[in-house]
């Protein structure tokens, strides 16, 4: 047995998938269950994002994976942490604000997701190759930056620009809100 085969035995696609998905689920649970400490919850969210990025890379969607790390793990959660630290919330101060209504909504979403996932698993079991008639096969370039760029700027140009305008409106709104507070 060569060194390469031993490495492959430990680090292969299946083991990596098990590793990333376990970490993603455990850290996602950490976000939800960590009610006493907001900073720990935000840090669990980062770990979850990173594990998801690993799963994206394994699906050949490297561009999405890198964006996941850059935007969600690298920028948005840093903003979360910034706000949490600025307010300096410690020890369950947020717990008092929890609303029963949100709990109900959350439970509903969890049940719906579980039902959908179970049906998907059943479908996957009855058709293991998972290929349906109307699905298009993807090319070898699938998931590359060039491919995504081409699709974004040709087929989905309008949607792309509309989402850009939406973001711009969000920025303008944020600036107006911030200005009002200062005056």
């Amino acid at each position: 047995m060569t060194f390469g085969e031993i490495v492959h035995l430990v680090i292969n696609e299946q083991n990596l998938f098990i590793f990333f998905s376990t970490v993603a689920i455990l850290s996602a649970l950490g976000v939800v269950l960590n009610l006493s400490n907001t900073v720990y919850a935000a840090l669990s969210l980062v770990v979850s994002m990173l594990a998801l990025a690993g799963l994206f890379v394994m699906l050949n969607a490297e561009f999405v994976g890198v964006l996941q790390v850059m935007i969600y793990a690298g920028a948005i959660v840093v903003l979360f942490l910034f706000v949490v630290m600025l307010l300096n919330l410690r020890g369950g101060e947020m717990a008092a604000d929890r609303q029963p209504f949100l709990k109900l909504v959350g439970a509903g979403i969890v049940i719906a997701a579980t039902v959908k996932l179970t049906s998907l698993l059943g479908a996957a079991r009855s058709n293991p190759s998972g290929i349906q008639k109307d699905w298009m096969p993807v090319g070898p370039e699938f998931g590359s930056v060039r491919d995504i760029g081409l699709v974004l700027y040709t087929d989905y140009l309008l949607l792309f620009q509309v989402s850009g305008i939406l973001l711009l409106a969000g920025i303008v709104a944020a600036v107006i809100l911030a200005k009002q507070k200062v005056d």
């Binding site: 060194f3 492959h8 990596l16 900073v39 980062v46 490297e62 561009f63 890198v66 920028a75 910034f82």
Partner: protein, 387 residues
């Protein structure tokens, strides 16, 4: 998913070079260059049996001091986060050199060598992503210390990192447009070409096509010549991400004592500094690979260099010679870049906190967006004229 084991030697080479050589020597460079610039003697006290070796033994003394120091832990802090924060700070610095090519592509004795650890299609994006995670080490360190100075440092780190990530990403978009790639090896190959600086004179009708003096003035297609504004903005953003002076507000000694690493001692403190110095090397390597022509010798494409040696020593040895020359050229550029960064570090005073934010949001961001627009316009014009 197969693992390319042939990458292990070049990985070990670059890792040991960065961690084992550059990082310790950086501590010496920091002291020696500041002494030179401030007209002091500096860094010459550490000695073994009377041998002082122009202060080169100081890194050894540093390491011995840090390893033997007591490891303290702040009361009321979070022990787990306090322990992992230095590692989180060091890991991004260590893994980011993976996509930076320090040489071209060589074939000798039937083997292929590409001198980069991971030749990713989205190489620059990978670096931006790693850079954006690097903030967590410092943020966690300051928060876990249960210390107000540390917390203030953390808040400043997170604000500064978010601000400069934005313009860091946008300031290199112009470069992506010019080279048409995100892959670092392709950028290196593209920078071996040359372009005629005065080529526009012909198209304006001031000179005839093929005029000698127009053809004579040529520059290599380096990022710094094609995107001068992008070079300076990207460098500014990188220095800010690195949290070194003049952007060291998160750790400013005179305001926050030491900022986010205030409660660290011994080798954990050392790890923060190691990360910072490795980041300096990574920044220099990144600037070299993207803006300063990478491994290539100016005006001499790789193939010409191999061809030059080929007559005397055969194809295989010619490739090896070219490889050695390219690696030396790359690290010469990196070292010059490090000296330039250190020059900035010792020349400029620390910005005030609001000045740091203003520079990022009100100057760099609009300029970098304008840079993208102007680059697109010029590329369209050039395409229109040359066809």
């Amino acid at each position: 998913m197969e693992f390319d084991l042939s990458k292990i030697p070049i990985t070990l080479f670059i890792f040991s070079l960065i961690v084992g050589l550059f990082s310790p020597i950086m501590t010496w460079v920091e002291r020696k260059q500041s002494a030179l610039m401030q007209d002091r003697i500096g860094a010459n006290r550490a000695e073994i049996l009377g041998i002082r070796a122009i202060g080169l033994l100081h890194p050894v003394a540093d390491v011995i001091k840090m390893i033997t120091k007591e490891d303290t832990f702040p009361l009321g802090g979070s022990k787990f986060l306090h322990n992992i924060a230095p590692m989180i700070a060091a890991i991004p610095a260590l893994i980011s050199f993976a996509v930076i090519p320090y040489g071209g592509h060589y074939q000798a004795w039937g083997a292929d060598w590409t001198l980069v650890v991971a030749d990713l299609d989205y190489g620059v994006l990978y670096l931006l992503a790693i850079g954006s995670i690097a903030a967590y080490g410092s943020i966690i360190a300051g928060w876990a210390a249960n210390n107000n100075w540390g917390l203030l440092g953390s808040i400043r780190v997170s604000a500064q990192m978010i601000s400069y990530e934005v313009c860091m990403g946008i300031s290199v978009v112009g470069l992506f447009m010019v080279f048409g790639t995100l892959k670092m090896t392709d950028m290196g190959i593209a920078q071996q070409e040359t372009f005629r600086v005065l080529g526009f004179v012909e198209h304006l009708g001031w000179a005839q096509a093929g005029t000698a003096w127009v053809d004579f003035v040529k520059l290599p297609m380096w990022g710094i010549f094609l995107q001068p504004l992008g070079f300076f903005m990207f460098m500014t953003a990188l220095i800010a991400e690195n949290k070194r002076p003049p952007f060291d507000v998160p750790e400013g000694e005179s305001e926050l004592v030491a900022g986010y690493f205030i409660e660290y001692s011994g080798m954990k403190f050392g790890l923060f500094f190691m990360a910072e110095w490795i980041e300096v090397v990574v920044i220099a390597g990144l600037m070299t690979a993207m803006f300063l022509g990478g491994w290539s010798v100016p005006y001499i494409p790789d193939a010409t260099l191999v061809e030059f040696f080929r007559g005397g020593v055969g194809v295989n040895m010619a490739n090896v010679f070219a490889m050695i020359i390219h690696v030396l050229i790359f690290f010469t550029k990196v070292i010059s870049m490090i000296f330039f960064l250190q020059l900035i570090r010792w020349s400029l005073p620390r910005f005030r906190y609001d000045q740091v934010m203003d520079l990022g949001w009100k100057i760099l961001l609009p300029l970098s967006i304008a840079n993208v627009a102007v680059t697109g316009l010029i590329m369209l014009l050039v395409k229109e004229v040359t066809g």
